[in-house]
């Protein structure tokens, strides 16, 4: 019988009798499931679900029935019927049959930590299957609000999500068409950045426009006493390497030249290997990297997620017993120093703002050490309030931040790196020019089409 329907708040599929959404936790009792993509496992194949009128545009009482003046909360359901999408052990026996093939919109669970994955779909043979009737919310505002939330969450919506939000159900694009629908936009964008890379026409003396915080980050590292311990959280993996490598490299070079004691830890499986690759790239021949006992301590992978961080803040020496190769690190100089003293500096190298925020909330209050963040450009805006409040001492964000930091060091950059940097800046400039033109053209088209209609 009927098994699932889409959450009106986040779009996640939920059991029909779920009290709360398994993804976002919104209260689901009292909602008309048929208006939100109800899917009947047995009936769907035999007959299409009855057409339901779309909910009134912009009326939040459809998704939040408790706002209605006449809302009468239903009796609490039995404890075993709580939505358990992420807690399979709590699921009752009778629901396991009904939830055999819930539609998956995003990579979940085991592969949820992998960056940049496209939606896991089966490859259909022959003609693409028709879009499931009633599987998508029919109200445009609700769908647009979901896309808005996705944007705020740092999750770039795919083009077909935009298409589904704006197209009538009978004209939905098949999900296996890649970027075909608006391919001209992507072709233009690619052509622009390829031209920029090929032309390599950025001025040789061009400087990057970095947001405030680079100078403060430089000063925080420069003012550390020799042999101070710096606890580094490595929170990016190869998915963000294209941007983060260029951003983090100058900061690592600075740390190694100052001969500080580095303790590198990561909560991402791919983090320790990425950290080792970058430390090797940043090794400028400073004496500190020449002997094992004084070399940066790669404390490896720290499991436990957010629950492990308070212990790391209180007793880092107890939390980090082995390095990336399984060798005990407890007797290394840097770790020994952490038995009695707090680290002199916390350095977060992260592709996403949430990783910096976690350390700000869980580790820094327990150590009182200043914190410097090296982040992707997209992570910079959500972290600005922490910079303003003084919780983040300095921040180096994005490609521009990395270049500005290198210039702040007063380095003569090697010609190969300078050439790469200039070429990529040229590509970035041209891609942005194309993007602005596309946005202007799209808005003008929408404006004129709107007037005609």
């Amino acid at each position: 019988m009927a098994s699932t329907f889409g959450c009106p708040h986040c779009g996640k599929s939920n059991p029909l009798h779920a009290t709360f959404c398994g993804s976002c936790g919104v209260y689901l009792q009292g909602i008309d499931a048929s208006a939100f993509g109800r899917q009947d496992d047995t009936e769907q194949a035999e007959s299409p679900p009855p057409a339901q009128p779309p909910p009134p545009s912009g009326d939040p009482t459809q998704s939040q029935p408790w706002l209605r003046p006449d809302f009468d909360p239903p009796d609490p359901p039995p404890a075993t019927s709580v939505s358990t999408a992420d807690q399979p052990w709590l699921q009752p026996e009778e629901t396991s049959e009904a939830e055999e093939t819930p539609p998956v919109l995003r990579p979940q669970r085991l592969i949820g930590g992998l960056q940049g994955l496209i939606e896991p779909l089966s490859i259909p043979a022959g003609e693409p299957p028709p879009a499931p009737a009633g599987a998508l919310p029919t109200a445009l505002p609700d769908e647009m609000q979901r896309l808005l939330r996705a944007g705020f969450a740092g999750d770039v919506p795919m083009h077909d999500e935009f298409a589904q939000a704006s197209a009538p159900p009978d004209k939905l694009p098949a999900r296996d068409r890649g970027l075909e629908r608006h391919s001209w936009i992507y072709v233009l964008l690619l052509a622009g950045l390829l031209f920029g890379l090929w032309a390599d026409n950025a001025p040789a003396d061009s400087s990057a426009h970095a947001w405030p915080g680079v100078d403060a980050a430089f000063t925080a590292i420069e003012s550390l006493p020799p042999a101070s311990v710096v606890l580094i959280n490595w929170a990016y993996d190869p998915a963000f390497a294209g941007e983060m490598d260029q951003t983090s490299l100058p900061v690592l070079e600075h740390l190694l030249r100052r001969e500080l004691r580095l303790v590198v830890v990561s909560q991402l499986p791919g983090g320790p290997a990425t950290a080792r690759r970058m430390l090797t790239a940043a090794d400028t021949g400073a004496p500190v990297t020449r002997q094992l006992d004084a070399a940066p301590v790669e404390a490896g992978y720290l499991p436990g997620g957010i629950s492990a961080l308070p212990l790391l803040g209180e007793a880092p020496a107890r939390t980090l017993p082995t390095d990336i190769q399984g060798r005990a690190v407890g007797n290394r100089q840097a770790i020994s120093a952490l038995r009695t003293d707090s680290p002199a500096l916390l350095l977060i190298v992260a592709g996403q703002a949430e990783d910096v925020q976690r350390w700000l909330e869980q580790v820094q209050p327990l150590t009182d050490a200043p914190l410097v963040a090296v982040t992707a450009a997209g992570a910079d805006p959500p972290l600005r309030p922490y910079v303003d409040s003084g919780q983040i001492t300095g921040i180096v964000s994005g490609y521009a931040g990395g270049i500005a930091y290198q210039q702040r060091m007063g380095d003569v950059i090697t010609s190969a790196r300078q050439e790469t940097r200039r070429r990529q800046m040229s590509g970035q400039n041209w891609a942005m020019i194309v993007l602005v033109l596309v946005v202007v053209a799209g808005n003008l088209t929408a404006l004129f089409e709107g007037r005609e209609s």
Partner: protein, 259 residues
């Protein structure tokens, strides 16, 4: 050689570059059309990552922190038994219990029923894990975000004596934050419950909040998109113009040209 060197022969470095090159091209096919090649590359990525994670968890977590200590010292002299019980034996038992319960859940999904007696103790363990995580998260949010931000706002001093720019910034923040909250939570569906004299004011405030919300979304999305374009540029640059890529292209072209 420094302690940071991988120790791998150069041929492996080159092999890694070529593998990355080919897989990048396979993924890029998605720009034209989703296909089995794209999916194959993605599934390879997922499989390799999971396998790597398993090895990493074993070598960095399970062996040095759990299995190894238990083999070395299964039971310490009196006085330390409690410590090893809490730090090793109970985590081991809990892990095995959760693992068996997960396996049982998968089997029940296939065979529709039976063997669910592990669910209750597993649910208790899971509740403990979720509870600790949520507790840490909430405590951290209060001590690391809420309180410092409130303290900073309160520490600005006399608002009326503040510089005009700061005053304007504060008022704008208040206006936009309030408007966005009213728009998201109350205005559209509950305007009838608003007191009449305030209704036009609150609806106008919500109107402003709605526009500010979309403006903020545009700004954040633009920054996010620029970040992703940077990633794309770095990959394309590595494929076409990087020193190793350039050498590879030259070799390929010379092979094609018979030179």
């Amino acid at each position: 050689m420094t302690p940071l060197d991988s120790g791998l022969p150069p041929i492996w470095e080159s092999a890694g570059f070529v593998a990355g090159f080919v897989l990048s091209l396979l993924i890029f096919i998605f720009i034209v059309r989703d296909s089995a090649l794209v999916r194959g590359a993605q599934y390879l990525l997922v499989g390799v990552t999971l396998a790597y994670t398993v090895v990493l968890v074993w070598s960095n977590v399970l062996w040095p922190r759990l299995i190894g200590p238990l083999i070395d010292n299964p039971a310490l002299p009196s006085g330390e038994v409690t410590a090893i019980l809490w730090s090793n034996w109970i985590p081991l038992a809990g892990g095995i219990l959760l693992w068996l319960a997960g396996i049982g859940q998968m089997r029940r999904r296939r065979t529709s029923g039976g063997g669910g007696w592990l669910r209750a103790p597993a649910a208790l363990l899971l509740a403990l894990l979720v509870g600790v995580g949520l507790g840490s998260g909430i405590a951290g949010a209060v001590q690391g975000t809420l309180w410092p931000q409130v303290r900073r706002a309160m520490g600005e001093g006399d608002l009326l004596a503040a510089p005009p720019a700061l005053l304007l910034s504060g008022l704008l923040t208040l206006l936009v934050t309030g408007g966005a909250l009213i728009h998201l939570q109350a205005a559209a569906g509950a305007e009838q419950r608003l007191p009449f004299p305030l209704r036009p004011l609150l609806l106008g405030w919500a109107w402003l909040g709605e526009r500010a919300l979309w403006l903020a979304a545009g700004v954040i999305f633009a920054r996010l998109f620029a970040s992703r374009v940077t990633l794309l540029i770095a990959r394309v640059d590595a494929l076409l113009f990087d020193q190793r890529a350039a050498e590879m292209w030259r070799t390929l072209l010379s092979l094609v040209g018979g030179g």
